[in-house]
Amino acid sequence: MPSDPGQSPALLGAKCSACGTVVFPKMPVCPSCGRNGTMQDVEIGRRGRLFSHTIARFAPKGFAAPFFQAFIDLDEGPRIFSLIGAECAVENGVLEDGMEMRIVVEPLADTPENKDVLSYKYVPAKGKNGHA
């Protein structure tokens, strides 16, 4: 979430002060070097790259098909599962693995169960809104 007005939203991850590993969601023990007590909160995930994506033609309860599902490589290191923002038409060819992505915050899904649940999602960095 933004820490200052006007700043774009971010994810709250954790960075190991000993080995530099960054994780999301945050964890108290570093999964890389195994140290306890070295993980410090850090804002991450404003930008990343699309690692992989697919179109789900079937939706679990609370979601509406078709919808994109993706893994994003955040600039700070973590690779996270994410949905794709509603500005992207759910069609083949709209997304390309490796493309730059930016974070958005919007309802998790346009369904009665999830329309009031806000979530992070990602959209192409050079999206409709024009800013890269």
Binding site: T54, I55, A56, K61, Q69, R79
Partner: protein
């Protein structure tokens, strides 16, 4: 550690049994195993009962093992409930094996049972999603997605990297459905063609409906005892458990180049059993999505990366091949009642090793076999549970 043998197995058919309760499905599997082993309930010293979704789907959140076994006339003994997602039953077998191996018990029972049909498939699917870490399932992640684009499997990337085609993905489903068509216990007994699999509805691109295991009810059980005591109960050939190797997922960072945990678990199992992949004569493996079988060939050391489709093309893993894989029909055809699957795999291998597998019997009875079972998904890019069991006759 004492040598441990499986002396009896039993199963309930997989499929939709809407009128039956979980304990009704477990009961015939348990008693088929007891009768097969020649043991009475009073001979059993300890039982491990695997089930994954019964809490959410039936409402019986606690003591499911005690409930199931009391219904089948087994009471008083230590009963341990095992929840380990789709590998619950393999984990139950491991508990029974170690009880006997350690000398703590002489005869132990392992049960796996699952009741997924509850009249509302959305509930069944939601329960299945709940065996993955909530951070993933609450975001809409499905098992199908994980096979399609998950970093460690990423079938879409394999299409580019290896040149695999959608037809290649269909090959395990075609092979296994031919086996399942011969299995009276199987849920789906129709031999499929490549065209039928490819042209079935897309679930998550590139995975189609007939590449997916489906909602299923079913159960299986095994009785184990020390190898020395086996002949006291049965004249049948005891099937030795060479190892039942259990591992959990590892938190993997994107730049982690260590081996996948399916691979490390298999390697550990080979080492513990003192055998290599070349010695296996039959395998039951976890093809929750059919194309996963192609990846698992690599992980289990059966072929070089990318050569999975060739193993099927060359007939190596068909019922008449050098190392038949999923003679039961596998998860997609035989069925995947999640908490029962690991022991359904074991029951199939025991039948094959004894020459009791009917129409789907492997012509040359396999003497060394492996069951590979896994389940759940963690945030750290691994499955939650991996189990490899190696059997020797």
């Amino acid at each position: 550690m004492r040598e441990v043998a499986i002396i009896g197995v039993g199963a309930h058919a997989t499929g939709q049994f809407i009128e039956k309760l979980l304990k009704d499905i477990a009961y015939p599997a348990i008693w088929n195993a007891l009768e097969d082993a020649g043991v009475q309930p009073t001979d059993i010293n300890v039982a491990y009962v695997g089930n994954s979704l019964g809490g959410l789907l039936t409402g019986q959140e606690g003591v499911r093992g005690q409930v199931l076994l009391q219904h089948s006339g087994i009471t008083g003994i230590p009963i341990i409930n095992v929840e380990n997602a789709c590998a619950s039953a393999a984990t139950a077998l491991r508990g029974a094996w170690l009880e006997v191996a350690s000398g703590a018990a002489d005869v132990a029972l392992a049960v796996g049972a699952e009741k997924m049909f509850v009249g509302d498939s959305a509930r069944s699917i939601a329960a299945l999603s709940a065996v993955s870490e909530l951070d993933l399932s609450q975001m809409g992640m499905q098992f199908t997605t994980s096979y399609a684009i998950h970093p460690k499997i990423n079938l879409k990337a394999r299409m580019e990297e290896y040149g695999w085609t959608i037809e290649d993905f269909a090959k395990p489903a075609v092979k296994n459905s031919a086996n399942g068509a011969l299995n009276p216990l199987a849920q789906h007994r129709r031999a499929l063609t490549i065209e039928q699999v490819v042209q079935s509805r897309v679930v998550v691109d590139p995975i189609t409906l007939y590449m997916c295991s489906s909602i299923s009810d079913g159960a299986a059980a095994a009785v184990v005892c020390s190898l020395d005591a086996a002949k006291k109960f049965t004249s049948k050939k005891p099937i030795r458990i060479a190892t039942c190797t259990l591992r959990s997922g590892v938190y993997r960072l994107p730049n982690d180049e260590r081996l996948d945990s399916a691979e490390t678990t298999a390697q550990a199992a080979y080492e513990e059993a003192g055998i290599g992949p070349d010695e296996l004569e039959a395998i039951e493996l976890h093809d929750a999505m059919a194309p996963a079988e192609l990846m698992l060939y690599e992980r289990l050391g059966l072929c070089d990366p990318g050569d999975g489709p060739k193993l099927i093309d060359d007939g190596v893993t068909t019922l008449s091949g050098r190392v038949p894989v999923n003679p039961s029909g596998g998860l997609c055809s035989r069925g995947h009642p999640v908490g029962a699957t690991g022991l359904l795999q074991i029951a199939e291998l025991v039948w094959q090793m004894r020459g009791e597998a009917g129409e789907r019997q492997i012509e040359k009875r396999p003497r060394v076999t492996m069951a590979q079972n896994q389940g759940g998904l963690l945030l750290g890019q691994d499955s939650a549970v991996y189990c490899c069991t190696i059997l020797k006759s």
